[in-house]
Symmetry: D2
Subunit: 374 residues, 4 copies
């Protein structure tokens, strides 16, 4: 087909030259099931509760004056999000569930071999969760692993409690890190598989999507100054649920919390919306990516200049989406220092005087939409 | 309620000072049922056919080498859109259906009294339509009125022919004219009623929506250099139909035809998308406004500085949407000269250095979204 | 087209022989805008409030210990439904809004000429509504006409208040009466127009749909023992809103309130669901019929044996839907006596031993679905 | 909560007494990824092509005069369905993809130890697929396992090719077998996990849902005379896609192909529709179940008398859905003989004189909906 508009599945991309790789441990990595919850620090717990509970409708499993434990409608584990009152808005943990208690031993061994700081608590770091391991990973992110967890009612059938924009699953995390190939190598050692990525003609990687469960990702690595948290994403059943969230924000005169979207992603093929919580933590609302569970699932590599990679409809990405992200904490609760990305930024190579994008590859007559319209 | 986020229905707004009103005829105006079709000149009939038929899925009632007659799925009259091959992309007629044959006599009388050029053809100006009156109206627009029309199959039940983005009704026209209060006075004399408008604190009117059928509008008057055609709008059943059109344009690598949206309008409360056809004629895809058929239907007046008036989610309006529009023809087929708007432009008073907008009225701490993010 | 599956628009059907027609008044009928509200008597106000407010989400405009005034989200008049506590579940009034105060005089004149009992109250019969006329119409139904009404906030933009199954408009009434052609003649004299009907090969009419506003109906006449009220219908924006109502009823373990559906109607082409309120009053939830405002709008006549007329997907109509309906009251609040239908019943001619239906006309090899599967 | 309407997750149900268990092999079972395709025999290839391609819109990967290979829009392997012309409508294979080529050795060993007939073909049994193992399993079903497969274009982004009812994934199989606990024991040995089941107060199991991928099922075992194939299920993105398929069948005057639904399942919480292909093979269209990938995913056990278990809205299950199913073939292509179920049938214990169902457990005043309405 000579005008094939769809992304071409490519053979697994060669890793970019990576002068400072994270060494591959000899230890067996833990068998990670899925991203399970994010533990975030917020500066005004009441304001955050209004955002996540009153506006977005996440379900409160448990709360006290310092912490709120929230879950989505189809979840049966204690929580998918912890709001923790603190002085600096930041991420305390990206937490993954592992298949068995023994996988915690493997996590300790894996990260110990990497020389990372590792802390294990039999009673867990948060309510509702038992034996847990937290590490400062080679990229500077606070990662957690656990298996034991309190089961709570799966509210999937409780339609009497659903709102029009009901969030039904935690879908994924997204992390900002300076060297995406380095991050990818480490994550593949940890057992993740890349499903899609964005590269340029020189082999620079701008972002990569990685999964354990059979969706497009449990987390993504976005190139930029880091370690920082780009966003946490919850899934709805259908697209109209996401549109409703926008309508509700308009009705509440809070439309300025909508940072980007709604729209259709090129990468992942999912429908999306990005919101900013009261501390500026970014939350994605997401629906309808595809099954990726086969070991030879085709990796889709997008050209960074393809103007439909980030938004399939060619709508512009707002600069803040490229530049802003949340700090992450070390295991003592201090903000991790930021390492600057040395490779080109995706924003620079695609927007404005230094960058270019196309709607149709090889089409020199028409530029991309932003250039035509703003 | 002290945080009421919805637009306040206001008593019918006073007409702005209007130094050059169109006189009110003594003649009874024709009883207009609804906007019925638009007759547009396109420069490349094959390219236009691809856009309207292959991409948007309008139904071909009849076609020849110079003209294509198209209708929507729920229509029973011969056409809602005529594509006519010609040298200059422009609008040949905004056509309204009237209640009875006698209303054509009233149309002749009404416009003759106004001193307008009037042409009546018993055989009609387009195929499928009988006795018709075309006029060059006081604002310079080519308006048509007809009653007799060929009935064709209403395809409402023909789901085997529907595509995922099926257009089911012609919804409305939108016209650009320099002096909105002047246009409004004339249109009210013609029997239209205003349902919503945009004003500022000085009483300047930026746009007004006017209806005959019981929807928010059959046409709108948008302040700007005119006479020009801003857009023609078709309705879908549901919002996902509109999202699909975007998805399809992405798949066809024609996402640059998406000018603005999709989004939720503040004005009309409808869900919308704006596309540009191969000649730059703007087409809106629209769904779910509200019933307006009562004579005391509350008029909603929006503040021009309210950043949710044009997009309820606060997403920015691209400048081309404010500045670009299609020429209109006189009854000889010549392009009507443009009169420049003297009052402030909506774009100037709301965007950038000369303008300001707010998400929450009276909220001085946070500006509108564009300012925060670009 | 030789396999045309869509209903064939027919020339306006001849009225069936009607030995006892309602005489046509010489008086001008009132100019009716639309069905506006239904006034129903319920036996347990708290149970009805749970159904209409807690489950269906209608908005309470005003309430006291004996009455609850409810409206839909896009309404700006005081109410669309009155729940009135009383000893017998019945309908106190089918209320229509008229264009002007003078139309009340016309209503009085019209019904007086017909020899009907007429009562006019300057202060209205219900809160929020002024000068009103109530009549016992020639078919035995309590009809009301009013123009003056208190305006309330149109909540169309208040998405913060919408539930997932939000009811946005009162759409129509449906009445049971023994002689449909007789009812049709009277209603046409009152200014209604038929949009669709169901007939058989002998010219028996089983039901007819009639409109004032530009939808398929403001009321329908269903053949059966009457006068009784078959249902009152509210509209949602989209089909998923209706599906949600079913999901919620399941979650509340009240699925037995679902009498029929959801499904697609053949007649009207709308998507539907029928519920029963705690007193057995039938409520339809309805969305997406088509524009009918042109005077020559094609009437669609369905064959009573067409198994897709009532459900486009051929799903069976439960017998209760044919047999059960609510009593109506006279102006003294007594239940109107029932007149038995003499012509064949739709259920008898289509279901079971005495009836037959087809999926494909002329197809003798396959019966209709119910026969195949139960 | 005292009125909890949702199914109560129960501890993993005890297997019913099972006097004739399939022995647990000592061999390691193959690591099954997912149900991958069904190979079915049809008697009229052109009629089947019309159903699966023209009506349902499955994508033709390859076809010849005897076979058609079809896939869904998000699939990247060669096919999800093979239509094979033959004299008797039956199922030739339920095919699963395994993780690695070595898993084929494990499949051979596993079934050889069970004494099953096993056939391995390096060139595969169908086009597009390499080394494959087919077995006559202990329940009499023709199961296939493969890893090597030809990759084809994943059409997920090809919205230009999507119809309004696009099928995007093969979701699951459903098999009829007399002794569900026996089947469950064997399937658990093969590595499947039960997610939901239906039992009665005496511990009789009527059906069980089993998964490898992280959805509610890759296959289900339905109690009845078997081995037979109950249905094969394809997923859509949203519920409106399923409703459209019904609308299209109505437009084509083929509504009698709709056997049951659309509706919401209690079990799985998915939205569903059952169709019958020209040979009577049952096809389910399905969307929106939930993630089940954790090893301690709560099993939901439904009471067979719960009238919302099969349809959350309480709509009746048509008897044919309980009684009809497709034969399955042995490896020589002969129809497998049927073994009669000895335990009570779900239809008998729930419908009619011998059965009872409830909407609210313990509610003796109101029966289930069918009893009230038919």
């Amino acid at each position: 087909m000579d005008h094939n508009p769809s992304p071409i599945p490519e053979p697994h991309a060669k890793r970019n030259p990576n002068s400072n790789p994270v060494p591959t441990p000899t230890a067996t990595p833990p068998d990670i099931l899925r991203c399970a919850y994010m533990d975030i620090v917020v500066t005004d717990l009441a304001a955050s509760r209004e955002f996540y509970v009153d506006i977005l409708g996440l379900v409160v499993t448990e709360e006290n004056e310092n912490e709120i434990y929230l879950r989505s409608f189809e979840e049966f584990i204690h929580h998918n999000l912890v709001l923790r009152k603190g002085p600096v808005a930041a991420v305390a943990a990206f937490s993954y569930r592992v298949r068995s208690p023994e996988d915690l031993d493997r996590a300790v061994e894996f990260y110990t071999e990497l020389g990372c700081r590792v802390e294990r608590r039999a009673e867990g770091f948060t309510k509702g969760i038992g034996d847990s391991v937290r590490v400062e990973d080679p990229l500077g992110f606070p990662y957690e692993f656990f298996h034991d967890v309190e089961h709570v009612e799966r509210l999937a059938w409780r339609y009497d409690l659903y709102g029009p924009g009901a969030l039904v699953r935690l879908d994924h995390f997204n992390q900002v890190t300076p060297d995406v190939p380095r991050a990818r190598g480490y994550m593949e050692d940890l057992g993740f598989r890349v499903t899609e990525d964005i590269q340029d003609e020189d082999g620079v990687t701008y972002a990569a999507w990685m999964r354990r469960k059979s969706t497009v990702h449990d987390t993504a690595m976005t190139g930029g100054n880091g370690p920082r948290m780009h966003h946490v994403a919850f899934a709805t059943h259908e697209k109209h649920n996401i549109l409703y969230i926008c309508d509700k924000l308009g009705a509440l005169r809070k439309s300025d919390l909508i940072e980007r979207g709604p729209g259709r992603h090129g990468v992942s093929n999912a429908f999306y919306l990005y919101l900013l919580d009261p501390d500026g933590h970014r939350v994605e609302i997401y629906t309808q990516d595809y099954y990726t569970g086969d070991p030879d699932n085709p990796v889709v590599t997008w050209d960074v200049h393809d103007n439909q990679r980030r938004d399939w409809w060619g709508n512009p990405v707002v600069p803040s989406w490229y530049t802003e992200a949340s700090p992450v904490l070390d295991l003592d609760g201090n903000v991790q220092p930021i390492v600057v990305r040395e490779e080109p930024s995706e924003m620079a190579v695609t927007v404005g005087a230094d960058g270019f994008s196309y709607t149709r590859e090889g089409d020199v007559e028409k530029g991309f939409k932003l250039g035509d319209t703003l």
